[in-house]
Protein backbone atom coordinates (compact mmCIF):
# COMPACT_ATOMS: atom_id res chain seq x y z
CA UNK A 1 0.00 0.00 0.00
CA UNK A 2 2.75 2.44 1.02
CA UNK A 3 4.68 1.63 -2.18
CA UNK A 4 1.61 2.46 -4.26
CA UNK A 5 1.22 5.81 -2.47
CA UNK A 6 4.93 6.62 -3.01
CA UNK A 7 4.71 5.74 -6.72
CA UNK A 8 1.59 7.86 -7.09
CA UNK A 9 3.27 10.78 -5.33
CA UNK A 10 6.38 10.50 -7.56
CA UNK A 11 4.22 10.31 -10.69
CA UNK A 12 2.36 13.45 -9.61
CA UNK A 13 5.45 15.42 -8.56
CA UNK A 14 7.80 14.53 -11.43
CA UNK A 15 5.91 16.27 -14.27
CA UNK A 16 5.46 19.34 -12.13
CA UNK A 17 9.20 19.63 -11.54
CA UNK A 18 10.00 18.87 -15.16
CA UNK A 19 7.55 21.51 -16.33
CA UNK A 20 9.07 24.11 -14.03
CA UNK A 21 12.50 23.51 -15.53
CA UNK A 22 11.04 23.59 -19.04
CA UNK A 23 9.15 26.76 -18.28
CA UNK A 24 12.26 28.37 -16.94
CA UNK A 25 14.09 27.54 -20.15
CA UNK A 26 11.29 29.01 -22.22
CA UNK A 27 11.42 32.15 -20.12
CA UNK A 28 15.14 32.50 -20.80
CA UNK A 29 14.50 32.59 -24.49
CA UNK A 30 11.24 34.51 -24.31
CA UNK A 31 11.15 38.04 -25.58
CA UNK A 32 8.74 38.91 -22.77
CA UNK A 33 11.18 38.03 -20.02
CA UNK A 34 12.82 41.39 -19.57
CA UNK A 35 14.27 42.09 -16.15
CA UNK A 36 14.40 45.82 -15.73
CA UNK A 37 15.14 48.14 -12.86
CA UNK A 38 14.58 51.86 -13.42
CA UNK A 39 17.35 54.02 -12.03
CA UNK A 40 16.15 57.56 -12.73
CA UNK A 41 14.73 60.00 -15.23
CA UNK A 42 16.66 60.20 -18.50
CA UNK A 43 17.62 63.36 -20.31
CA UNK A 44 15.30 64.67 -23.04
CA UNK A 45 14.02 61.78 -25.17
CA UNK A 46 15.99 59.05 -23.39
CA UNK A 47 15.31 56.38 -20.77
CA UNK A 48 17.88 55.09 -18.31
CA UNK A 49 17.57 51.77 -16.53
CA UNK A 50 19.39 48.63 -15.49
CA UNK A 51 18.67 45.58 -17.63
CA UNK A 52 19.65 41.93 -17.27
CA UNK A 53 20.75 39.60 -20.06
CA UNK A 54 21.69 35.92 -20.40
CA UNK A 55 24.43 34.31 -22.51
CA UNK A 56 27.05 31.61 -22.79
CA UNK A 57 29.73 34.15 -22.01
CA UNK A 58 29.70 37.69 -20.61
CA UNK A 59 29.88 39.29 -24.09
CA UNK A 60 26.85 37.34 -25.32
CA UNK A 61 24.91 38.15 -22.14
CA UNK A 62 25.66 41.88 -22.59
CA UNK A 63 24.38 41.74 -26.18
CA UNK A 64 21.26 39.93 -24.97
CA UNK A 65 20.75 42.65 -22.36
CA UNK A 66 21.01 45.36 -25.03
CA UNK A 67 18.44 43.53 -27.15
CA UNK A 68 16.14 43.19 -24.12
CA UNK A 69 16.49 46.91 -23.35
CA UNK A 70 15.23 47.95 -26.79
CA UNK A 71 12.59 45.20 -26.92
CA UNK A 72 11.22 46.28 -23.53
CA UNK A 73 10.80 49.86 -24.77
CA UNK A 74 8.95 48.60 -27.86
CA UNK A 75 6.72 45.82 -26.51
CA UNK A 76 6.46 45.93 -22.74
CA UNK A 77 7.11 49.46 -21.52
CA UNK A 78 9.21 50.35 -18.51
CA UNK A 79 8.11 50.13 -14.90
CA UNK A 80 8.17 53.18 -12.68
CA UNK A 81 10.75 53.65 -9.94
CA UNK A 82 13.88 55.56 -9.06
CA UNK A 83 11.96 58.81 -9.43
CA UNK A 84 10.60 58.04 -12.90
CA UNK A 85 6.97 57.33 -13.78
CA UNK A 86 6.07 54.19 -15.77
CA UNK A 87 6.68 54.44 -19.51
CA UNK A 88 4.19 52.85 -21.92
CA UNK A 89 5.42 50.60 -24.76
CA UNK A 90 5.97 52.26 -28.12
CA UNK A 91 3.85 49.62 -29.90
CA UNK A 92 0.49 49.72 -28.14
CA UNK A 93 -1.03 47.36 -30.72
CA UNK A 94 -1.56 43.88 -29.22
CA UNK A 95 0.71 41.15 -30.67
CA UNK A 96 2.76 43.72 -32.58
CA UNK A 97 5.80 41.42 -32.50
CA UNK A 98 3.83 38.74 -34.36
CA UNK A 99 2.06 41.07 -36.77
CA UNK A 100 5.35 42.68 -37.82
CA UNK A 101 7.48 39.57 -37.32
CA UNK A 102 9.55 40.07 -40.50
CA UNK A 103 10.36 43.65 -39.61
CA UNK A 104 11.46 42.84 -36.06
CA UNK A 105 13.46 39.80 -37.17
CA UNK A 106 15.59 42.12 -39.28
CA UNK A 107 15.57 44.88 -36.67
CA UNK A 108 16.90 42.55 -33.93
CA UNK A 109 19.31 40.51 -36.07
CA UNK A 110 22.94 40.27 -34.95
CA UNK A 111 24.41 43.76 -35.33
CA UNK A 112 20.93 44.98 -36.33
CA UNK A 113 19.44 48.44 -36.26
CA UNK A 114 18.37 48.14 -32.62
CA UNK A 115 21.96 48.86 -31.54
CA UNK A 116 21.61 52.37 -32.97
CA UNK A 117 19.26 53.27 -30.09
CA UNK A 118 21.43 52.06 -27.24
CA UNK A 119 23.96 54.19 -25.43
CA UNK A 120 25.62 51.98 -22.84
CA UNK A 121 26.57 53.89 -19.75
CA UNK A 122 29.04 51.32 -18.40
CA UNK A 123 31.40 50.10 -21.09
CA UNK A 124 33.46 47.59 -19.13
CA UNK A 125 32.31 44.02 -18.54
CA UNK A 126 29.85 43.90 -15.64
CA UNK A 127 31.35 42.77 -12.35
CA UNK A 128 30.33 42.11 -8.75
CA UNK A 129 26.63 41.67 -8.20
CA UNK A 130 25.93 42.53 -11.83
CA UNK A 131 27.72 39.39 -13.04
CA UNK A 132 26.27 36.04 -11.97
CA UNK A 133 27.89 32.80 -13.05
CA UNK A 134 25.27 30.22 -13.76
CA UNK A 135 25.44 26.50 -14.49
CA UNK A 136 25.51 27.19 -18.20
CA UNK A 137 26.72 30.66 -18.93
CA UNK A 138 26.25 34.07 -17.32
CA UNK A 139 23.53 36.43 -16.22
CA UNK A 140 24.72 40.02 -16.31
CA UNK A 141 23.24 43.46 -15.73
CA UNK A 142 24.16 46.63 -17.60
CA UNK A 143 23.09 50.23 -17.20
CA UNK A 144 21.71 51.52 -20.48
CA UNK A 145 20.43 54.74 -21.90
CA UNK A 146 17.90 54.05 -24.68
CA UNK A 147 17.21 56.78 -27.22
CA UNK A 148 13.47 56.30 -26.67
CA UNK A 149 12.19 59.20 -28.79
CA UNK A 150 14.50 58.37 -31.70
CA UNK A 151 13.39 54.73 -31.52
CA UNK A 152 9.72 55.76 -31.47
CA UNK A 153 10.22 58.08 -34.45
CA UNK A 154 11.94 55.29 -36.42
CA UNK A 155 9.08 52.85 -35.75
CA UNK A 156 6.52 55.52 -36.63
CA UNK A 157 8.33 56.31 -39.88
CA UNK A 158 8.43 52.58 -40.74
CA UNK A 159 4.69 52.27 -40.11
CA UNK A 160 5.09 49.92 -37.15
CA UNK A 161 3.93 52.32 -34.43
CA UNK A 162 1.06 54.78 -34.76
CA UNK A 163 1.86 58.50 -34.62
CA UNK A 164 -0.06 60.55 -32.05
CA UNK A 165 -1.28 62.88 -34.80
CA UNK A 166 -2.01 60.23 -37.44
CA UNK A 167 -5.40 60.72 -39.02
CA UNK A 168 -5.46 64.45 -38.27
Amino acid sequence: MSIAVTVLAVVMVLPANAQTRKERKILWNSQYNYEIEPVGVGQDGTKVFKVWGYGKDVGAAVMNAKEAAVAACIFKGLPGGGGSAPTPPICSQPNAEQIHADYFEKFFEVGGKYLQYIAVTNDADPSGEDRIKMKKGFKVAIYVQVMYDALRKQLEADGIARRLDSGF
Binding site: V41, G80, G83, A85, P88, S92, R162, L164, D165, F168
Partner: protein
Protein backbone atom coordinates in the same frame (compact mmCIF):
# COMPACT_ATOMS: atom_id res chain seq x y z
CA UNK B 1 11.53 58.50 -72.38
CA UNK B 2 7.79 58.59 -73.25
CA UNK B 3 7.14 55.64 -70.97
CA UNK B 4 8.88 57.43 -68.11
CA UNK B 5 6.84 60.59 -68.70
CA UNK B 6 3.62 58.58 -68.73
CA UNK B 7 4.58 56.91 -65.45
CA UNK B 8 5.40 60.28 -63.92
CA UNK B 9 2.07 61.75 -65.01
CA UNK B 10 0.22 58.70 -63.69
CA UNK B 11 1.99 58.99 -60.33
CA UNK B 12 1.15 62.70 -60.04
CA UNK B 13 -2.49 62.17 -60.96
CA UNK B 14 -2.80 59.32 -58.44
CA UNK B 15 -1.20 61.53 -55.77
CA UNK B 16 -3.57 64.40 -56.56
CA UNK B 17 -6.53 62.00 -56.39
CA UNK B 18 -5.34 60.67 -53.04
CA UNK B 19 -5.04 64.19 -51.60
CA UNK B 20 -8.50 65.12 -52.85
CA UNK B 21 -10.14 61.86 -51.89
CA UNK B 22 -8.71 61.35 -48.41
CA UNK B 23 -8.93 64.48 -46.30
CA UNK B 24 -7.80 64.74 -42.71
CA UNK B 25 -10.00 64.74 -39.64
CA UNK B 26 -10.34 67.95 -37.62
CA UNK B 27 -7.33 68.24 -35.37
CA UNK B 28 -8.15 69.21 -31.80
CA UNK B 29 -6.47 72.31 -30.36
CA UNK B 30 -4.63 71.58 -27.12
CA UNK B 31 -3.67 74.18 -24.53
CA UNK B 32 -1.97 74.02 -21.13
CA UNK B 33 -3.96 75.86 -18.47
CA UNK B 34 -2.82 76.10 -14.84
CA UNK B 35 -5.49 74.63 -12.57
CA UNK B 36 -7.73 76.83 -10.46
CA UNK B 37 -6.15 75.35 -7.34
CA UNK B 38 -2.64 76.27 -8.58
CA UNK B 39 -3.59 79.87 -9.36
CA UNK B 40 -5.77 80.58 -6.33
CA UNK B 41 -3.43 78.99 -3.75
CA UNK B 42 -0.57 81.19 -5.02
CA UNK B 43 -2.58 84.38 -5.05
CA UNK B 44 -3.08 84.60 -8.84
CA UNK B 45 -6.77 85.34 -8.43
CA UNK B 46 -9.50 87.87 -9.00
CA UNK B 47 -12.24 88.34 -6.41
CA UNK B 48 -15.74 89.53 -7.26
CA UNK B 49 -18.80 90.28 -5.24
CA UNK B 50 -21.55 88.56 -7.17
CA UNK B 51 -24.83 89.73 -5.58
CA UNK B 52 -23.43 89.34 -2.09
CA UNK B 53 -21.64 86.09 -2.89
CA UNK B 54 -17.84 86.20 -2.94
CA UNK B 55 -16.55 84.69 -6.16
CA UNK B 56 -12.88 83.84 -6.75
CA UNK B 57 -11.56 83.31 -10.27
CA UNK B 58 -8.04 82.40 -11.43
CA UNK B 59 -5.97 85.23 -12.94
CA UNK B 60 -4.08 83.44 -15.70
CA UNK B 61 -2.38 86.57 -16.99
CA UNK B 62 -0.71 87.37 -13.67
CA UNK B 63 0.23 83.70 -13.17
CA UNK B 64 1.94 83.50 -16.54
CA UNK B 65 3.62 86.89 -16.17
CA UNK B 66 5.07 86.31 -12.72
CA UNK B 67 5.58 82.59 -12.12
CA UNK B 68 8.88 81.36 -13.65
CA UNK B 69 8.27 77.75 -12.56
CA UNK B 70 4.97 77.68 -14.42
CA UNK B 71 6.58 79.10 -17.55
CA UNK B 72 9.33 76.48 -17.38
CA UNK B 73 6.85 73.61 -17.14
CA UNK B 74 4.59 74.99 -19.90
CA UNK B 75 7.57 75.47 -22.24
CA UNK B 76 8.87 71.95 -21.60
CA UNK B 77 5.44 70.43 -22.17
CA UNK B 78 4.99 72.50 -25.33
CA UNK B 79 8.32 71.27 -26.67
CA UNK B 80 7.40 67.62 -26.09
CA UNK B 81 3.93 67.99 -27.58
CA UNK B 82 5.25 69.80 -30.68
CA UNK B 83 7.66 66.91 -31.16
CA UNK B 84 4.66 64.54 -31.14
CA UNK B 85 2.89 66.57 -33.87
CA UNK B 86 0.66 68.63 -31.55
CA UNK B 87 2.05 72.17 -31.17
CA UNK B 88 0.21 73.61 -28.17
CA UNK B 89 -1.76 76.82 -28.23
CA UNK B 90 0.05 79.13 -25.82
CA UNK B 91 -2.30 80.63 -23.25
CA UNK B 92 -0.12 83.70 -22.60
CA UNK B 93 0.15 84.55 -26.29
CA UNK B 94 -3.55 83.87 -26.84
CA UNK B 95 -4.47 86.30 -24.05
CA UNK B 96 -2.22 88.95 -25.64
CA UNK B 97 -3.75 88.33 -29.08
CA UNK B 98 -7.27 88.66 -27.70
CA UNK B 99 -6.43 91.97 -26.05
CA UNK B 100 -4.94 93.26 -29.29
CA UNK B 101 -7.94 91.99 -31.28
CA UNK B 102 -10.35 93.69 -28.89
CA UNK B 103 -8.50 97.01 -29.26
CA UNK B 104 -8.31 96.78 -33.06
CA UNK B 105 -11.97 95.74 -33.43
CA UNK B 106 -13.15 98.76 -31.45
CA UNK B 107 -11.06 101.18 -33.52
CA UNK B 108 -11.53 99.75 -37.01
CA UNK B 109 -13.88 101.59 -39.35
CA UNK B 110 -14.59 101.28 -43.06
CA UNK B 111 -12.67 103.75 -45.24
CA UNK B 112 -15.64 104.66 -47.48
CA UNK B 113 -18.51 105.18 -45.01
CA UNK B 114 -16.77 105.11 -41.62
CA UNK B 115 -18.96 102.18 -40.53
CA UNK B 116 -17.96 100.10 -37.53
CA UNK B 117 -17.73 96.29 -37.65
CA UNK B 118 -20.89 94.44 -36.74
CA UNK B 119 -20.56 92.85 -33.34
CA UNK B 120 -23.29 91.43 -31.18
CA UNK B 121 -22.88 91.04 -27.40
CA UNK B 122 -22.44 87.29 -27.95
CA UNK B 123 -19.60 87.94 -30.45
CA UNK B 124 -17.79 89.93 -27.76
CA UNK B 125 -18.45 87.20 -25.19
CA UNK B 126 -16.94 84.60 -27.50
CA UNK B 127 -13.62 86.43 -27.60
CA UNK B 128 -11.97 84.19 -25.00
CA UNK B 129 -9.05 81.74 -25.04
CA UNK B 130 -10.44 78.37 -26.18
CA UNK B 131 -9.12 74.89 -26.77
CA UNK B 132 -10.65 71.51 -27.53
CA UNK B 133 -8.46 69.62 -25.08
CA UNK B 134 -7.28 71.38 -21.94
CA UNK B 135 -4.15 70.18 -20.18
CA UNK B 136 -5.08 71.12 -16.64
CA UNK B 137 -1.78 71.50 -14.81
CA UNK B 138 -0.95 71.58 -11.14
CA UNK B 139 2.39 71.04 -9.40
CA UNK B 140 4.06 71.88 -6.13
CA UNK B 141 7.62 71.85 -4.83
CA UNK B 142 7.37 70.17 -1.43
CA UNK B 143 9.98 69.88 1.29
CA UNK B 144 10.72 67.06 3.67
CA UNK B 145 13.55 68.12 5.97
CA UNK B 146 16.49 69.06 3.76
CA UNK B 147 14.99 67.27 0.75
CA UNK B 148 12.82 68.68 -1.99
CA UNK B 149 10.43 66.77 -4.23
CA UNK B 150 7.77 67.58 -6.79
CA UNK B 151 4.12 66.61 -6.70
CA UNK B 152 2.86 66.73 -10.27
CA UNK B 153 -0.73 66.47 -11.49
CA UNK B 154 -1.75 66.79 -15.14
CA UNK B 155 -5.26 66.13 -16.48
CA UNK B 156 -6.27 66.05 -20.14
CA UNK B 157 -9.85 67.31 -20.29
CA UNK B 158 -12.19 67.34 -23.25
CA UNK B 159 -13.54 70.89 -23.18
CA UNK B 160 -17.00 69.89 -24.42
CA UNK B 161 -17.82 66.58 -22.78
CA UNK B 162 -15.87 67.57 -19.61
CA UNK B 163 -14.46 64.05 -19.59
CA UNK B 164 -10.92 63.32 -18.48
CA UNK B 165 -9.32 61.75 -21.55
CA UNK B 166 -5.85 61.34 -20.09
CA UNK B 167 -4.08 62.00 -16.83
CA UNK B 168 -0.91 61.50 -14.84
CA UNK B 169 -0.11 62.27 -11.24
CA UNK B 170 2.60 61.40 -8.80
CA UNK B 171 5.47 62.51 -6.62
CA UNK B 172 9.09 62.54 -7.80
CA UNK B 173 11.97 61.14 -5.78
CA UNK B 174 13.26 63.51 -3.06
CA UNK B 175 16.63 65.20 -3.55
CA UNK B 176 18.81 67.42 -1.41
CA UNK B 177 21.12 68.62 -4.17
CA UNK B 178 18.91 69.12 -7.26
CA UNK B 179 17.40 72.56 -7.83
CA UNK B 180 13.58 72.84 -7.98
CA UNK B 181 13.88 73.73 -11.69
CA UNK B 182 15.71 70.49 -12.41
CA UNK B 183 13.16 68.50 -10.42
CA UNK B 184 10.34 70.17 -12.36
CA UNK B 185 11.99 69.32 -15.68
CA UNK B 186 12.39 65.73 -14.49
CA UNK B 187 8.72 65.58 -13.52
CA UNK B 188 7.61 66.69 -16.99
CA UNK B 189 10.02 64.32 -18.78
CA UNK B 190 8.97 61.47 -16.53
CA UNK B 191 5.20 61.86 -16.99
CA UNK B 192 4.66 63.05 -20.55
CA UNK B 193 5.05 59.67 -22.31
CA UNK B 194 2.35 58.21 -20.11
CA UNK B 195 0.12 61.24 -20.66
CA UNK B 196 0.52 60.97 -24.43
CA UNK B 197 -0.29 57.24 -24.29
CA UNK B 198 -3.62 58.20 -22.68
CA UNK B 199 -4.19 60.79 -25.38
CA UNK B 200 -3.39 58.19 -28.03
CA UNK B 201 -6.01 55.81 -26.54
CA UNK B 202 -8.54 58.67 -26.71
CA UNK B 203 -7.74 59.35 -30.37
CA UNK B 204 -7.86 55.63 -31.27
CA UNK B 205 -11.27 55.40 -29.62
CA UNK B 206 -12.34 58.52 -31.51
CA UNK B 207 -11.34 57.04 -34.88
CA UNK B 208 -12.99 53.69 -34.07
CA UNK B 209 -16.29 54.90 -32.60
CA UNK B 210 -16.51 58.51 -33.80
CA UNK B 211 -15.88 61.82 -32.07
CA UNK B 212 -17.82 62.24 -28.83
CA UNK B 213 -19.69 65.55 -28.74
CA UNK B 214 -22.56 67.36 -27.07
CA UNK B 215 -25.67 68.75 -28.82
CA UNK B 216 -28.48 70.78 -27.33
CA UNK B 217 -31.83 71.47 -28.97
CA UNK B 218 -33.58 74.59 -27.71
CA UNK B 219 -36.67 76.57 -28.68
CA UNK B 220 -37.11 80.32 -29.24
CA UNK B 221 -39.68 81.72 -26.80
CA UNK B 222 -41.75 83.37 -29.59
CA UNK B 223 -42.06 80.26 -31.79
CA UNK B 224 -45.54 79.15 -30.75
CA UNK B 225 -44.61 75.45 -30.97
CA UNK B 226 -42.41 73.29 -28.77
CA UNK B 227 -40.72 69.89 -28.74
CA UNK B 228 -44.00 68.19 -27.81
CA UNK B 229 -45.79 69.60 -30.89
CA UNK B 230 -46.71 67.03 -33.52
CA UNK B 231 -45.34 67.16 -37.04
CA UNK B 232 -45.46 65.01 -40.18
CA UNK B 233 -48.24 62.89 -41.66
CA UNK B 234 -48.19 60.41 -38.76
CA UNK B 235 -48.40 63.15 -36.12
CA UNK B 236 -45.15 62.29 -34.36
CA UNK B 237 -43.84 64.46 -31.52
CA UNK B 238 -40.94 66.67 -32.58
CA UNK B 239 -38.69 65.30 -29.81
CA UNK B 240 -39.22 61.75 -31.15
CA UNK B 241 -38.48 62.90 -34.72
CA UNK B 242 -35.19 64.45 -33.53
CA UNK B 243 -34.27 61.39 -31.47
CA UNK B 244 -34.89 59.14 -34.49
CA UNK B 245 -32.63 61.38 -36.59
CA UNK B 246 -29.82 60.96 -34.05
CA UNK B 247 -30.31 57.19 -34.01
CA UNK B 248 -30.01 57.12 -37.82
CA UNK B 249 -27.02 59.44 -38.11
CA UNK B 250 -24.74 58.78 -35.13
CA UNK B 251 -21.94 56.23 -35.49
CA UNK B 252 -23.54 52.87 -34.64
CA UNK B 253 -26.53 54.86 -33.34
CA UNK B 254 -24.55 55.87 -30.22
CA UNK B 255 -25.96 58.82 -28.31
CA UNK B 256 -27.48 59.54 -24.95
CA UNK B 257 -30.46 61.81 -24.43
CA UNK B 258 -29.54 62.82 -20.91
CA UNK B 259 -32.32 65.32 -20.23
CA UNK B 260 -35.34 66.79 -21.99
CA UNK B 261 -38.44 68.92 -21.49
CA UNK B 262 -40.85 70.50 -23.97
CA UNK B 263 -38.32 73.34 -24.37
CA UNK B 264 -34.96 71.61 -24.59
CA UNK B 265 -33.21 68.33 -25.34
CA UNK B 266 -29.70 67.63 -24.12
CA UNK B 267 -27.80 65.00 -26.09
CA UNK B 268 -24.52 63.78 -24.61
CA UNK B 269 -22.02 61.13 -25.69
CA UNK B 270 -23.12 61.73 -29.27
CA UNK B 271 -20.70 59.88 -31.54
CA UNK B 272 -20.33 61.73 -34.83
CA UNK B 273 -18.33 60.34 -37.77
CA UNK B 274 -14.82 61.78 -38.26
CA UNK B 275 -15.18 62.03 -42.04
CA UNK B 276 -17.94 62.05 -44.65
CA UNK B 277 -18.32 62.36 -48.40
CA UNK B 278 -19.64 65.70 -49.60
CA UNK B 279 -21.78 66.44 -52.68
CA UNK B 280 -18.65 66.62 -54.88
CA UNK B 281 -17.51 63.16 -53.73
CA UNK B 282 -14.70 64.51 -51.55
CA UNK B 283 -13.90 63.25 -48.08
CA UNK B 284 -14.43 66.07 -45.59
CA UNK B 285 -13.83 66.28 -41.88
CA UNK B 286 -16.94 66.48 -39.71
CA UNK B 287 -17.35 68.71 -36.68
CA UNK B 288 -20.43 69.16 -34.50
CA UNK B 289 -21.53 72.19 -36.49
CA UNK B 290 -21.56 70.37 -39.83
CA UNK B 291 -23.23 67.34 -38.20
CA UNK B 292 -26.02 69.41 -36.65
CA UNK B 293 -26.31 71.40 -39.87
CA UNK B 294 -27.69 68.22 -41.49
CA UNK B 295 -30.36 68.06 -38.78
CA UNK B 296 -31.16 71.71 -39.43
CA UNK B 297 -31.67 70.95 -43.14
CA UNK B 298 -33.82 67.92 -42.28
CA UNK B 299 -36.07 69.95 -39.97
CA UNK B 300 -36.18 72.80 -42.48
CA UNK B 301 -37.67 70.31 -44.96
CA UNK B 302 -40.50 69.77 -42.45
CA UNK B 303 -41.14 73.50 -42.23
CA UNK B 304 -39.23 74.06 -38.98
CA UNK B 305 -36.69 76.89 -39.32
CA UNK B 306 -33.83 76.99 -36.82
CA UNK B 307 -30.62 78.75 -35.83
CA UNK B 308 -27.40 76.80 -35.52
CA UNK B 309 -25.13 78.08 -32.76
CA UNK B 310 -21.59 76.72 -32.56
CA UNK B 311 -19.75 76.35 -29.27
CA UNK B 312 -16.48 74.94 -30.64
CA UNK B 313 -15.39 71.73 -32.32
CA UNK B 314 -17.38 69.52 -29.95
CA UNK B 315 -20.59 71.33 -29.06
CA UNK B 316 -23.44 72.97 -30.98
CA UNK B 317 -26.94 74.20 -30.18
CA UNK B 318 -29.89 74.12 -32.55
CA UNK B 319 -32.52 76.71 -31.58
CA UNK B 320 -35.86 76.00 -33.22
CA UNK B 321 -38.45 78.51 -34.41
CA UNK B 322 -36.51 81.03 -36.46
CA UNK B 323 -33.02 82.01 -37.60
Amino acid sequence: MMVNMKRLLLTFSLLAFAILAFGQAKKPIIMVVPSDQYCISRGYKMEFNNQGLKQVLPDYKTALQTDPDLRLVVTKMGQIMADRGFPLKDLEQELKNLEQERAESSMLTSSSSGSEMAESPIDALKRVAKADIIMDLDFEVKRQGPQKYIVFNLKGLDAYTAKQVSGVAGAGSPSTSASPELLLEEAVLSHMDNFNAGLMRHFEDMFAKGREVKVQIKVWANWGENLESEFGSDGKELSSIIEDWFADNCVEGRFNLSDATENFMKFEQVRIPMMRTDDKGRQRAVDTRSFVSDLRKYLNGMGIPSKLYMRGLGEAWLILGEK
